[in-house]
Structures are given as structure tokens and as C-alpha cells.
Symmetry: C5
Subunit: 162 residues, 5 copies
Amino acid sequence: MKFFGVVDTTFARFDMGHSVMDELQKMGTGFRIIRYTVPGIKDIPVACLRLLREDNCDIVVACGMPGSKPLDKISAQTASNGIMQAQLMTGRHILEVFVHEEEAESPGELAWLMDRRAREHAINAYYLVFDRAKLTEKAGKGLRQGYADVGPVEESGGGIRH
Amino acid sequence: MKFFGVVDTTFARFDMGHSVMDELQKMGTGFRIIRYTVPGIKDIPVACLRLLREDNCDIVVACGMPGSKPLDKISAQTASNGIMQAQLMTGRHILEVFVHEEEAESPGELAWLMDRRAREHAINAYYLVFDRAKLTEKAGKGLRQGYADVGPVEESGGGIRH
Amino acid sequence: MKFFGVVDTTFARFDMGHSVMDELQKMGTGFRIIRYTVPGIKDIPVACLRLLREDNCDIVVACGMPGSKPLDKISAQTASNGIMQAQLMTGRHILEVFVHEEEAESPGELAWLMDRRAREHAINAYYLVFDRAKLTEKAGKGLRQGYADVGPVEESGGGIRH
Amino acid sequence: MKFFGVVDTTFARFDMGHSVMDELQKMGTGFRIIRYTVPGIKDIPVACLRLLREDNCDIVVACGMPGSKPLDKISAQTASNGIMQAQLMTGRHILEVFVHEEEAESPGELAWLMDRRAREHAINAYYLVFDRAKLTEKAGKGLRQGYADVGPVEESGGGIRH
Amino acid sequence: MKFFGVVDTTFARFDMGHSVMDELQKMGTGFRIIRYTVPGIKDIPVACLRLLREDNCDIVVACGMPGSKPLDKISAQTASNGIMQAQLMTGRHILEVFVHEEEAESPGELAWLMDRRAREHAINAYYLVFDRAKLTEKAGKGLRQGYADVGPVEESGGGIRH
């Protein structure tokens, strides 16, 4: 039995935690999900750490929506650094699913993007725990979570500046 | 019996520590509050750590007012990173209640905002310790501390660029 | 018997370490001071750590003068992060007394500011070790070290945007 | 028997992991390679840590392609800081092979650069593990990975401002 | 017997490691020097850590030449943070001798500056290990490594804004 942690916030404008849980449940069985909601993105890292340490989660999907102001960008960076540190303290993955409010051009698109990116990272989390080879098959393929994949580039064989 | 820590500064221009303590006392009983005042925001993290470690607090509310100059923004980032680290060292939440001096347009609004945000985070601290389910009910609802909530967004169902 | 550490640099253009020691000695007795001079601000954090760990200091006052160029600002940030980390590793305060060269408009003002800020933080250090209640009395009062205090703000009771 | 770890991402637009492995195999024998693919660059550091700790790798080559947007630059910085920390936690090298998408002027050049830089860092990794003296021979020689080496500078002997 | 570590890179355009070693040898006897060359500045911190831990060095002089592009500035910051962390992990000094490529106006000046700054920090390293009082004599004197010292400032006694 594996354990998936899901962390989300009351600050975000879409229920990404629900999207992650819904998508995970479509992927298969053999795991349980534990959810932990905090006020804002800077509260996420310690929640992840508690899920990994106290609830023994194998992985955590951390959902957040940084606001669009300059101060929000700094907060996002602090949160990301904390998520990084929590991973290194536990040796386990925390997939950061952040959608910055300004990435979308309308409220409808924002909701769509938050749902989509959360679901695609839920799939990544599933593979990291159950089937890492699936990710190696896609190495260097220019995959994206949310908007469309951009695909790989190829050497053209001529005219390179060097 | 639970213990709530409150850290504040002599640099701030409003007594946010008082607001937090006053609001917490309205929430219920079954806890005690320990206060620790330091000169400036960069002194906050180690004060939080001492409250969590030496006084065995279950959570800390850390109040500060970063000044409006570029150097103050760097100090705020350093302080935030320290608060993050203190959380990860102890596995306990520190709610960072920072009001940047330039967020408000007048001294009166600044005082109002500092009081308001401090009180709303006191409530968050209470729920994190006593009733986490209350926060999950509000996941993705676009809540804010201080100014009005912005509310959730919804998928519009059409016209999304992707 | 308490121990106060003082760290300063050969890079700075005023002997802030002397100012700190002179002011501390005016505050009272019951403590000893240990001084540690390093080349530049990025050498400060490990000097603080050694004073706290090897010399068992109760607190350190760390004096530095970041230069005015963009690269100097990055160095100051690195130094501040190191000072933060040294505090969290030891659970003891390090008061960072940095005067940025561009804060003052003339060499004379720079010297005055470095002396003044060093002395006012020496007083803060004294209270953190011997009488923390003195700081709580001043919580939210808008105190500054060096230039004049700005004082507290008050809620105006009307006309707040929210 | 030595162990080389290779970490890469599904986000990147070229299979740098393959380039590293191919080049390493040309260098000699006496080692084995373990590959670990993750979704994006912020997932790299904990993968490196697991290779170093759980698989006992002697070194890791960490391949990533940060995107060209401002948010991608912040992600790259978070990833780099995590890679740094993982090195310090284990006392072993992780060679960061990042190609920023905007470094190249065309898709063909991007592919060429990603392949080239990956291969040249594979050689560095080989020397760090098997023959460090080879690197000391090249100290201060202005070497580059990907584009052409820039070479050393020499004191001109006159006209220096100081 | 003391041990001095010297770390340098193949990326730099001048052999600063040689300058440090040459200058150290002029300072006196009673120590041995261990050199460790890495590809670039982000590889420096773990090399320092290994010299401090595995080779039991008393101090390390870390030489690097960050490039002039914006991405190079981020790399320098990551490297500096790693050097800071390695110092705090070991409680020993690492003198960071970085010369940014754009600090000099010509290749000849760059070579001169790299040589000069390396030598002056070698002297600092020597004093930190053998004679710390020499540094305290120069506290607040406005010393610089490379270009000329700027000297101290003095209080003018009048016309200060405060």
C-alpha cells in the first residue's frame, strides 16, 4: 500500500486538490490519499514535510496559486525553496503544481489551467511511485503540464554558430 | 493544553502582536500564549525557533512590517527564508503575518490592514491547531487575509487557448 | 556571566566594532566581550558561528558595510542568509548591523550612521540577553536604529478601501 | 567499480541523458550508469540525492533545459540551489548541465548545444572520478562546455587602472 | 602543521590557484597546500567541503571568475550560497575570491586583477589561520582586495540629516 499526500491552499482560486485526487483515483488502485489544506503557499512546505514524515507518504503533490503581484513572486520563490528543502530532508519527491495567476488571460482559462496542470502532475506522481520507466521513455520530449506539449528539437546538421 | 507563540517587532508601526493575542482569546480556550518581541524582521526566525523548541509552542504567529525601500524587500526575503527553515527544522507551522509598509495608501489604512491581517491569521492558526478540517472546507476559495476575499474562478467551458 | 560576541570587517570604512563595545560597556556589567575581525561581510557568518559555538557567546552583534555596487548587494544578501542560518543552527540571536554605503549622502554622514546604528543595536543586544520585557514595551512603536524613529500609526476610523 | 548517475527531464526538448551516457561509454570502462528521469528541473535535486544515497553513485550528471520565461529562470535558480544542497549533503559532485532555451537562436542550434554541453560535462564527470589531475592541468584556461573555449588572459604589463 | 586548501576552475581565464599558492609560500612556513580544480564555480562548494572534511584543511581559498552574462550572475550567487553553507557545516573559513569578468576593462586588466585579488586574499587566509589580531588592527579601515584601498571615513561633526 502506497500513500499519496495532497497539499493545497485556501488562497488559490480553484480546488486543485480535488483535481489531483480525482485524477489519481482514475489511475489505479493500491494507494491511499491524505489531504492537508493550509492558508497560503508559504505554509505548504511544512505541511508536505508532515505528510512525508508523520503520515509516511511516498510522495506529495503540492498545489498552489501564487498571486500576480511582485511580492507574490517572492513568496512563491520562498515556498519553492521550502518544497525543495523538504524533499532533500526526506529523500522523497514533492511535485510542485503552481499556477501563477497571471499565466491565464481570463478567470475561465485560469480554472481550466489549474485543473489541467493538477491532473497532469497527478499522473506524473503516479508514475514516479509505481512505474518510473514510463518517464524515461519520454525523456527530452518537451512535455508540458497544462498547456500543450512543445515537443523535441532536432539537430539541423548545418549553420550552427560555434 | 496547547501553546501559541506570538513574535513581533519594535520596528513595526502597529502592535500586531496585541491583535493576534486579542483575536486568539476570542476563539476559545484550552491554550496559552507566549510573546517574544525582537527589534526587526530578521530577528524573527530565531525567536520563533526558540518558542517552538524551548517553550514547546505548537504553532507561532510571526508578525512583521517590512519597510518600503528596496533594501527592506531583501530583508523581508531573508526573514521569510528563515521562517521557512525554522518550520522545517521543527515540523511545525509558523504563520508569517507580514504587512509591507507600501501595501497601504495612508497611515490609517496601514494600521487597519495590520490589525485585520493579524486577526485573520490568528484564526488560521487556531484552526491549524484545533480543527484542520475547517481549512479544507475552504480549499481553493480565493481567501485573503486583510483585504476582501477574491473568491474562486470557474471553468467557462469554451474559448480557452491551448 | 554572559558573553557578547562582536564581529566586524576590514572592508568597512568605520570601526563599528569599537562603537558596539563602547556602548555595551556603558549599559552595565556582568558580561564579557569577544571580538572577531574578518576581511569582508561574507566572512561574517562563520565567525559568528565560531563565537557562538566555540566561545559560547550568548549573542553576537555582526557589523558590516556592504558596498554600493550591484554585486555588493548580492554579497550582502548571501551574508544575511548565512547570518540567518547561523542563528537557526545555534538557537541564539545574531544582530545584523549593516550600513549600506549608499545609505548616507556624505563620508561624514556615513561615519555618523555607522556609529549610531552600531550603538543602538548594542542596546538591543543587551536587552535581548538581560531584559526582554523592555523590547515588548516597545512592540509596534516604529523604532529605527541610526536615523530617527518613525513612530506608530493609528487607525483613522474611516475612509479605508476594503 | 564506480557508479555514474544521470538525471534528466521530460520537459527538456532534447535527450541529454542519452548524450551523457553515450559519451561516458566512449571514455573507458570500470563504471556503471544509472539513469533517473523526472518531469521538470525542480524534481532533479531529490533524484540526484537518491542516486547518491540509495544507489551509492560516485557522481551525478544532472541534465535540464530551463524554459525562456522569467518564471522559468526562478525555477532554474531553485533547482540549482537544490543541486548545490544535495552535493553538500553527500560530499559528492553533481555536475549541473543546464541549457537555457534562449541560449540558442534556432531549434537546430538548441539540439546541437544540448548534445554538445552534455557530452563535454560527461568528460568532466569522468575526470572528476578517475583522474582529477587532468582538470588541474587546465586550471584558468577559460574552458567552456558547448560553445568554443574562450582561452586565458594575460597581464599586459602596463596601463592598468589602480 | 596547518593545511590550506585551494580550489579553482577550468572556466576562469587566469590561473588564480597558482597566485594563491605562490603568495602563501612567501608568507612563511608551517603549512601545506592542497589544490582541487573543478570545471566551474558551481562545482566549487563541494570541493571546498571535501578539502575541509576529508583532507582536514584549516581554511580554503576558493577562486572563481563568474562570466559577464545575467545567467552567470545567478550561478555566482548559487556558488556563493554553497560556499557559505560549507563554511557553516564545518565551522571553518572559505575565502571566496571571485573576480567577475566585467569588473575589468581589458583582458590585461582582468589578468592583473585576478592575480592581485588572489594574492591579497591569500594573505588574509594566512592571518585568519596564524594571526587573527593582524585583522583586528585593520578593522573599519576600508581595505580592498585587488583595486586600491578606499580608507576609513570620519564623522564631520555637523550638518548630518537626522
